[in-house]
Amino acid sequence: MVVRRLPLAFLCLLLGAAVLTAQAQDSSHGGIAVSDAWARATPAAARNGSVYATVHNGGDAPDRLLGIESDVAASGAIHEMTMDNGVARMRPVNDGLAVAPGESVTLAPGGMHGMLIGLKQPLKAGETLHAMAVFERAGRIAIAVPVVAMGAPSPEGQTMEMQPGMEMPQGGSRP
């Protein structure tokens, strides 16, 4: 009895794995696609790190990005940076980031970012984080997040030539 069902169970497992792999590769689910994710390296003892990405809603229902989570951090949230009269402020965006159907929203320095809260280890340039973008409707979407140098304005922005004594960015696309 048990032996006869084993191949079926195995097939189910294989199928499940195939579906999961497909999801991880294109990072899309329910019309929501997450692309161009990246993060900045963090100082040795920092407890938080910011993650950037572009979210596209190809579906026909509005959705909300509630946070970006990873095994390297205790939790994830969406934060917003504002500049007012020369004063920089950062605040949690408690109800997440709305993404209307047919629209794309980019998390970038100087505005919204995914916040990895309670880092268990510093984010190092060159490594790639396994993270989950968490949506209200679409659920959890697996994303790969390359970590770039601490000050890099974008993953492509690491074009600055380093001087002796400066830390070399190990990741990114420095020409």
Partner: protein, 208 residues
């Protein structure tokens, strides 16, 4: 009758006193809060209202004061190492500008001043600054020393709690330019081509 008038008069006096106190508080608030916006006014007055005496420790553990900055033009930026956004971005822009300045970068002071005395030790500052141009020095201090330098430089900073018991710091994120005598010149705009950004500093170097 006269017994009743007592409390009534007292109430009027109290109300008046409360109003006067409120006025004073409002005046102080307006004065304090308008400071970051008031930088334009400072330029036109020609007086260095930004800057003053301070004692801090640099990233190598050496004591520094306002006198340590004299003799060279200085650029100062206040922030903290846990700052995930504006600080790394600004220090990166500053690094790009310093690189563009070449040997002239040796003739100025570039300083990152911490407004997070609880977490930013000289060691933390040194580690952090590894990621940026080596000309940039990092000053940190005690709670009191940090209060003093922030007040002297008209920098606003405020600790704000986050979700998990952690905190962030709201802070003035302008880059200040001073001449070799320590007089405030202008805020420096790093959000432009490095050569343009460096022009006001080069103007000061040309004078000296």
């Amino acid at each position: 009758m006269s017994e009743r008038r007592g409390p009534t008069r007292l109430a009027i006096y109290t109300a008046f006193a409360a109003f006067a106190v409120a006025l004073v508080i409002a005046a102080i608030a307006v004065f304090t809060l308008s400071r970051p916006a008031g930088i334009g006014g400072v330029i036109s007055s020609g007086e260095a209202l930004i800057g003053g005496p301070f004692t801090m420790i640099d990233q190598d553990g050496a004591p520094v004061t306002e006198k340590s900055l004299l003799g060279k033009p200085s650029i100062l930026f206040f922030g903290f190492t846990y700052c995930p956004e504006v600080c790394p971005t600004t220090l990166y822009d500053m690094s790009v500008m310093l690189k563009a300045m070449g040997a002239e970068a040796e003739r100025i002071n570039a300083v990152f001043v911490s407004v997070d005395p609880e977490r930013d030790t000289p060691q933390a500052m040194r580690d952090y600054l590894q990621a940026f141009d080596p000309h940039i020095r990092g000053f940190s201090g005690t709670l009191e020393e940090t209060r003093t330098i922030a007040k002297a430089y008209r920098v606003y900073y405020k600790k704000v709690p986050l979700e998990d018991g952690d905190y962030t710091v709201d802070h003035t994120a302008l880059v200040y330019l001073f001449d070799a005598d320590g007089k405030f010149v202008a805020p420096l705009n790093l959000k432009q081509e490095p050569e343009k950004a460096a022009a006001p500093i080069r103007a000061l170097l040309g004078e000296s």
